[in-house]
């Protein structure tokens, strides 16, 4: 794969249209973006304002999973393919307990008017699973000995709200669980559409995919 344009941006960058124009001038087939929330939102807006002929756009854009940014950007997200951890697609039912956990989370956020992410799909299931695994390990070891807890976590398989989890030799998941989703069919800025199936189709992992990748511009107005 030939890389035709590669640049870093400063977190203070207020406008991303010059960056996108410079990238477009190299006529890329795909644009991979690794960005934090401000940059993610800025680049999504720049894509709406300047456009691109690239067939695929997205990658590791942190922040687009947040309820506030999803609602704020709305249809500008269409076509972008991005990583995620949990989306309300039917195949995610393989995560036992995650849906019930999110329902509980969303009810609590609403009832108590908590100033946190309104939907909670992105981080809540895995944050819960992290602590759940740690709790299970502490109980199994019977002490707070960190070496023993670490060894137990490395050697055993766990079951939590996200299903079975086992870690490989390098400390990562034995089987990758990160999702690649593509934003499709977003028509307005209503937050609730992101709580129903269809707006973020799962492309990967293949065994739980709910849609095929489509070219970036075919999903734009």
């Amino acid at each position: 794969m030939e890389i035709v344009y590669e640049q870093n941006y400063n977190p203070k960058t207020a406008d991303f249209t010059p960056i996108l124009r410079a990238a477009n001038a190299k006529k890329p087939d795909a644009i991979y973006i690794a960005s934090y929330p401000n940059g993610s939102a800025g680049l999504v807006r720049a894509l709406a304002e300047v456009g691109t002929d690239a067939k695929a756009v997205g990658g590791g854009m942190v922040g687009l999973q947040f309820a506030g940014l999803m609602a704020g950007l709305g249809p500008m997200l269409n076509g972008i393919a991005n990583y995620d951890f949990f989306v309300p697609e039917p195949t995610m039912n393989l995560y036992p307990g995650a849906s019930a956990l999110i329902d509980r989370y969303q009810s609590k956020v609403k009832a108590e008017n908590l100033k946190v992410d309104a939907l909670g799909y992105y981080l809540v299931p895995w944050a819960y699973a992290n602590l759940d695994i740690l709790g299970q390990a502490v109980e199994a070891v019977g002490s707070l000995d960190q070496v023993a807890i670490g060894k137990y976590i490395r050697d055993n398989e766990f079951t939590s709200v996200v299903g079975k989890i086992k870690f490989g030799k390098n400390g990562e998941w034995e089987r990758p669980r990160t999702l690649v989703v593509q934003y499709q069919g977003i028509t307005n800025n209503d937050l609730q559409q992101f709580a129903t199936p269809g707006t973020r189709k799962i492309l990967l992992p293949a065994d739980i995919s709910t849609g095929d990748i489509q070219s970036f511009n075919s999903l734009r107005k």
């Binding site: 400063n10 124009r21 939102a41 100033k115």
Partner: protein, 301 residues
Amino acid sequence: MAIFIDLLLNALVIGVLLGGFYAALSIGLSITFGLLDVVNIAHPTMLVLGAFIAFLLNSTWGIDPVLAGIISTPFFFVLGWLIYQVYYNVFEKSGAESLRGLAFFFGLLFIIEVGLIIQFGVDHRLVEAPYIGQSWNIVIGEEIDVAIPFRLLVAFVVAAIATLAIHAYLTKTFFGRAVRAVAQDMMALRLMGVDPIRVKRIAFAMGVATAGIGGALMIIVLPIEPSLGRLYLGNVFAIVVLGGLGSISGTLLAAVIIGIAESIVATFFGPSWAPAVSFGILLAVLAFRPEGLFGKTAGAH
């Protein structure tokens, strides 16, 4: 060649528009710091407060963010009035404004920031307006077109109007001249029978009042979160110093220079170099003109 011209034209246009936006962020500081010598380092966080008020009015009642900024301006005027009253009585009156006054505004910065976190959380916020996400595409020739994002155009127009209005007010009205006189010689003003503290209080309130419209433009241009102000602290001070302390038109020009420099560097050399070039310009100008582009030399006083 056509691609180069296309990139250059777009970089220049975006740079000018971006400069207008930067001017909107800096103009209040140009009054409070440039004219009144009050180092209000909480100004960028006040802008973020203005942005959150615009967000609240926009998300609750669907009010256009620019209108929301105009609506919140009187609130910021009163806020500025009260802040200066405290600052004067506690610090300036006793001559303790230099370090303790700085600590006061530093504390104010965190109080506003934490208040925003408690009220709104740490999520990024955006506003909805018909001009956000749209652009005006002007075809100039084959392979050459200029795309003008409406959100930047709106920010530029509003910022230019606000800046020119403040400049006219400070240069054409009696009170404006009194503000500039305070900046030059408070004692002389006192001898003329004018209360310089009253003049400073109103001028400071005017400077803070710009956070209403400046904050609204901020959330039109980019997503906001409570700590965003600290990110722009260096930029706004750099623009005010580059323009020349006390010069409103200098602030606008300095903001446009920084905007163009950032845009051209981001286009042709990579965006990570943009801040270095901006601050490089500041250093270079200060080396040859320590008073800034439009600042008055010591002899002029």
